[in-house]
C-alpha cells in the first residue's frame, strides 16, 4: 500500500469512529427526547395551576419550593400580560431570586448568558438595572446589544432614551429597527428626545426619530418635520421618513411643503411618500398637485397619487374619473384607483359579478 493510501486508511479509521459516535448520539437523543418531553409536560401541568392561583390572588405558599421550571413558565407568560397580573409575576421572579441571578449574569463570559439575562431583566421590568443594561449596548456581541436595547424598552425607564438613540449611530451599534421597537415600548415619554434627535446626530437617527414621531402622531414635531422635508440638502431617507410622519400627523400646515416635494425632482421614494402623506392629510389644496402627479413618469408616484386621490371622497373621485377616460399610464393609474374605490364601496357587487 502506498503512503497516501496508508494515511487514508488511518483517516478512515478516525472518520469511522466519528460516524459511530454521531450515530450513537443521534439514537440516544431520539430515544430520550420523548421521555424528557413527557416528564417536562407533566411538571408543567403540575405547576400551571400554581401560576393561575397566583394570578387569581390566592395564597401561593408552595411557590417558594417550586422547581426552576416554574421560572420558565412565568417568563413565558410575562410578555403576554399587562397590569396587575404582570406585576404579580414580576414579584415572583424577584422573590425567587431570578432577577438577582440574571443581574449577575449580565457580565457572564458567554454571549447567550448575557443576552438571556438582559431579556429576563427586561421582562421583569427591572428599572434598577438600567445602568448595566446601558453598558451592554456596547457589548462585543451584536445579539447581546440588541437584547439589551429591547430590555431597556421594556423596563419603561425614560433614562434609557438617550443611550438608545446614541446606540443607533455608534460604530458598533444597535440596528435602528431594534432601537425603534424599544423606544415604542417606552411610550410617549420619549417624544421630547425624539424631537431633539430630528435635528441632531446622524441621518440614521434622524430618520428613526421621524418614523417614531409619525407612529405617535406627535403634532408638536410638525414644524421640524416640515423643515426636514423642505431641505434638499438632507439625506433622502430622512426626508422620506419625515414626509411619512407628516402624513400620519395629518396637519394641513404641511400640505404646501409636501406638494412641493411631490412636484420636485427629488428621489422617487420621497415623491411617493409625499403623495401618500397628502392623501392621509386630505387637505383640498392637495387635489391639484396630486392630479398633476397622475402624469408623473414614474409608475410608483402615479399609483401613489391615484391612491391618495381616492382618500378625498367625491372631489378625488371626480378627478380620477376625468383622467380615467385617457389612454396611457395616467389613465391606467386613475382607472385602477377607481376600481379599488368601487371595490371597497361595493364588495358584494363585485363578488356577485365574479
Amino acid at each position: 500500500m502506498t503512503p497516501p493510501a496508508q494515511a487514508a486508511a488511518v483517516g478512515s479509521l478516525v472518520l469511522s469512529g466519528l460516524v459511530v459516535l454521531l450515530l450513537v448520539a443521534v439514537a440516544l437523543e431520539h430515544l430520550l427526547r420523548t421521555r424528557r418531553l413527557a416528564r417536562e409536560a407533566a411538571r408543567r401541568a403540575e405547576l400551571t395551576p400554581l401560576v393561575h392561583a397566583l394570578l387569581d390572588g390566592e395564597s401561593t405558599a408552595e411557590l417558594a419550593g417550586a422547581p426552576a421550571l416554574l421560572d420558565e413558565l412565568v417568563l413565558d407568560l410575562l410578555p403576554q400580560l399587562r397590569g396587575a397580573d404582570r406585576s404579580a409575576l414580576q414579584a415572583v421572579l424577584l422573590e425567587r431570586g431570578v432577577v438577582g441571578r440574571a443581574a449577575d449574569q449580565l457580565t457572564a463570559r458567554g454571549a447567550a448568558r448575557r443576552g438571556r439575562a438582559a431579556l429576563l431583566l427586561g421582562n421583569a421590568a427591572s428599572a434598577e438595572h438600567t445602568t448595566p443594561l446601558v453598558h451592554l449596548l456596547s457589548d462585543r456581541t451584536a445579539e447581546v446589544r440588541s437584547a439589551a436595547a429591547r430590555a431597556l424598552g421594556k423596563t419603561g425607564d425614560p433614562a434609557a432614551v438617550g443611550p438608545l438613540l446614541a446606540a443607533v449611530a455608534s460604530r458598533q451599534g444597535v440596528p435602528p429597527g431594534v432601537v425603534g421597537m424599544a423606544l415604542l415600548d417606552l411610550g410617549t415619554g420619549v417624544l421630547p428626545a425624539l424631537r431633539t434627535a430630528l435635528d441632531a446626530g446622524r441621518p440614521v437617527t434622524q430618520a428613526l426619530a421621524a418614523d417614531l414621531i409619525g407612529v405617535h402622531g406627535d403634532p408638536a414635531a410638525t414644524d421640524a418635520l416640515i423643515a426636514l422635508v423642505g431641505d434638499p440638502g438632507r439625506d433622502p431617507d430622512v426626508r422620506r421618513s419625515a414626509a411619512q410622519a407628516l402624513g400620519r400627523i395629518g396637519s394641513p400646515v404641511a400640505t404646501a411643503t409636501l406638494a412641493a416635494a411631490l412636484r420636485g425632482s427629488g428621489e422617487r421614494p420621497l415623491r411617493g411618500a409625499a403623495a401618500e402623506a397628502l392623501g392621509r392629510i386630505g387637505d383640498p389644496a392637495a387635489l391639484d398637485p396630486l392630479t398633476a402627479g397622475l402624469r408623473s413618469a414614474d409608475a410608483d408616484v402615479r399609483g401613489a397619487c391615484a391612491d391618495a386621490l381616492t382618500l378625498f371622497g367625491e372631489p378625488g373621485r371626480l378627478r380620477l374619473a376625468a383622467h380615467a377616460v385617457l389612454c396611457g399610464p395616467s389613465g391606467d393609474a386613475a382607472r385602477s384607483a377607481l376600481d379599488v374605490l368601487e371595490f371597497t364601496r361595493r364588495p358584494g357587487r363585485h363578488a356577485a359579478r365574479a
Partner: protein, 500 residues
C-alpha cells in the same frame, strides 16, 4: 506507451486526490461553522420574539410573488398556505404564465376572481404581454395576472414585481408550501435592521411524502423513494448548514427562488430578474451584491436557519437530470457574467471566498469527478491500478461524505427534530451513505452536461415539468410514506447543494 499512460494516470489521480481533499476540507469547515451557528441559534436566537415583530408598527408589508406555469396540481394548496400567513400586512400576486391547464380556472373559482385595471408600481421591461389582471372578491389579498408566456420564469417574476405594492417582496415557487410564520421569521432581520438588510432566506425542505392538508404540512415524512430521500439529505445539508456557514462569513451567494425575501426598491433599481438566466435567483443575489458594493452602500444578506418552506423535489432520474442540468447551466452563466468579481477583494467575502468556491467546487467539480472516475476505469483497464490503495481511497472518500451527511442529520435531530419517526431518521442516515454511491456520480454527469451547455452558450430553455401536487391528509393513510409529489421543475438553482 503503457509507461506514459501510467504516469499520466498517476498525475491525474494525484490531482483529483488533492482536489477532493481540498473540497472535503472546505466542506467540513463550512458544515462545522454552520452546525455551530444552528446549535447556538437553538439555544438563544438573540432576537425578538415573533409576537413583538407581528405587533410592531415598524414591520413592513410584503408582496408575495408566485409565478406559475401549469400548476393545477398544487396551486390551491400553495395559495392556501401563503394566504394563511400570520403577518400584519401582505398581498399575494400570482402570475398565470401562459398556463395551459386549469390553474387559472381553479383559482378563479376558489377565490371568485373579478377583472380589475392593473395598478403598476414599476416599469421593468417584460416580454410576455399582460392579458388581464384579476382580484379576489373573497376578501383575500390576492391578485392574479394572466400573461402570455415567453418560457421564462424571470419574465413572470418581473411582471409581478411591476405590480407589487409593499416595500418587501417574497419570491415563492408555485409548488411550495409556506410554514404559517414563514414571513414573520424571515422578515425579522428587515424589521431589526431595515437599512442594511437587503435580502433574506430560510431553510427549505423536501415535502414529498409528508402529510399535508390545505397547504399545511401536518406531519413531515420522508418519501419511500430513495431518490427523494437522498435529495432530502442534500437539502438539509445545503440549507441547514451550508448556507448558514456562508451567511456567517457574510458571503451569501444564493437566496432560494423557492422562498426569498428582498427589498423591492433595490430589485427595481437593478432592473429586476435577469431575463436570460437559468439561475435567476442566485443571479439576483450576486447582482445585488455587485451593485451595492460598487456604490459603496452597506448591505447584508441574511440567512435565517429555521424551516420556512416545503417544496417538491424530483422523483425520477429524468426529471432530476433536467433540473440539475439547468442549475449547472445557470451557475455557468452566473460565473461568466460576474467573472470580474471572482477573486476580487473589492467585493469582500463574496468575491474572495464564495465565488471562487463556486467556480472551483460547484462548476468545475463535475469535471474533476468524471475525469477521476474515468482515470480509475482506464487504469484498471491497462492493469495499472493498485486495487488495495484504490479501495482504501474510495472508502475514505465515502466516509468523508458519510460524516458530512451524518453531521447534518444529527444537527436536525438535536435542533428542529421535524422527522418524528425513528424509521424516517434511519432512512435519512442511510440516504446520507447511499448518496455517495451512484447518486453522486450520476449527479456529476448531469452537472457536467449543464456546464457544457453553459460553455457552448446554448440557448437557455425552461422546461415545464409535471406535478401531482401535495399528498393530502385525507388521501394519505397514516401509515403511508409517500404518495405525494411528482417532480418539481421549478425548484430553483438556489437549492444547489453546497457539496458536489
Amino acid at each position: 506507451m503503457i509507461g506514459v499512460a501510467t504516469s499520466f494516470l498517476a498525475t491525474v489521480s494525484w490531482t483529483v486526490l488533492g482536489y477532493m481533499i481540498l473540497l472535503d476540507l472546505c466542506m467540513l469547515v463550512l458544515v462545522a461553522f454552520g452546525a455551530r451557528r444552528v446549535l447556538a441559534n437553538r439555544r438563544w436566537t438573540g432576537a425578538e420574539g415573533h409576537d413583538q415583530i407581528f405587533a410592531s408598527p415598524l414591520t413592513p408589508g410584503i408582496s408575495v410573488l408566485i409565478p406559475a406555469h401549469d400548476e393545477e396540481a398544487g396551486i390551491l394548496d400553495t395559495l392556501s398556505a401563503a394566504l394563511a400567513q400570520r403577518y400584519p400586512s401582505f398581498e399575494i400576486i400570482l402570475v398565470d404564465d401562459g398556463c395551459t391547464d386549469r390553474t387559472f380556472d381553479l383559482v378563479a373559482d376558489r377565490y371568485r376572481l373579478t377583472p380589475v385595471t392593473p395598478r403598476w408600481t414599476a416599469d421593468l421591461p417584460i416580454d410576455g404581454a399582460v392579458l388581464s389582471v384579476h382580484r379576489a372578491t373573497t376578501g383575500d389579498p390576492l391578485t392574479v395576472i394572466r400573461k402570455a408566456t415567453v418560457g421564462r420564469r424571470s419574465d413572470a417574476s418581473n411582471v409581478a414585481l411591476n405590480m407589487a405594492r409593499h416595500p418587501l417582496v417574497c419570491m415563492l415557487d408555485a409548488d411550495s408550501l409556506l410554514e404559517p410564520e414563514a414571513l414573520l421569521r424571515v422578515a425579522r432581520p428587515f424589521v431589526e435592521d431595515p437599512r442594511n438588510v437587503v435580502g433574506a432566506g430560510g431553510v427549505i425542505r423536501a415535502v414529498n411524502g409528508s402529510r399535508t392538508d390545505s397547504g399545511a404540512v401536518l406531519e413531515p415524512r420522508l418519501s419511500k423513494r430513495w431518490l427523494v430521500r437522498i435529495q432530502a439529505v442534500e437539502y438539509l445539508r445545503s440549507f441547514l448548514l451550508g448556507r448558514t456557514g456562508w451567511a456567517d462569513a457574510n458571503a451569501m451567494l444564493i437566496i432560494s427562488g423557492a422562498f426569498g425575501l428582498f427589498r423591492r426598491d433595490l430589485l427595481v433599481e437593478v432592473g429586476g430578474m435577469d431575463p436570460h438566466s437559468l439561475a435567476e435567483d442566485a443571479e439576483l443575489v450576486v447582482t445585488l451584491q455587485e451593485h451595492l458594493r460598487r456604490q459603496g452602500r452597506p448591505h447584508r444578506m441574511v440567512f435565517v436557519p429555521e424551516p420556512v418552506c416545503w417544496t417538491e423535489v424530483p422523483e425520477t432520474w429524468s426529471v432530476l437530470g433536467r433540473q440539475r442540468r439547468r442549475w449547472s447551466h445557470g451557475l455557468g452563466q452566473l460565473l461568466w457574467k460576474h467573472k470580474r468579481m471572482i477573486g476580487n477583494p473589492r467585493f469582500g467575502a463574496v468575491g474572495v471566498l464564495a465565488l471562487p468556491f463556486f467556480l472551483l467546487f460547484e462548476a468545475l467539480g463535475p469535471v474533476v469527478e468524471v475525469v477521476g472516475l474515468a482515470s480509475v476505469v482506464l487504469a484498471a483497464g491497462i492493469g495499472a491500478l493498485d486495487w488495495g490503495s484504490a479501495g482504501v481511497m474510495v472508502g475514505f472518500a465515502l466516509l468523508v461524505g458519510t460524516v458530512l451527511s451524518t453531521v447534518v442529520v444529527a444537527v436536525e435531530e438535536f435542533t428542529f427534530h421535524r422527522y418524528r419517526s425513528g424509521r424516517d431518521l434511519l432512512a435519512l442516515l442511510a440516504a446520507g451513505v447511499l448518496e455517495n454511491v451512484g447518486f453522486r456520480q450520476v449527479h456529476a454527469w448531469y452537472r457536467l452536461q449543464g456546464l457544457f451547455a453553459a460553455i457552448t452558450r446554448r440557448t437557455p430553455v425552461w422546461t415545464a415539468m409535471p406535478r401531482t401536487g401535495f399528498g393530502s391528509a385525507a388521501q394519505v393513510p397514516a401509515d403511508a410514506g409517500s404518495t405525494a409529489a411528482v417532480p418539481a421543475s421549478a425548484v430553483p438553482a438556489s437549492a444547489v447543494p453546497v457539496s458536489a
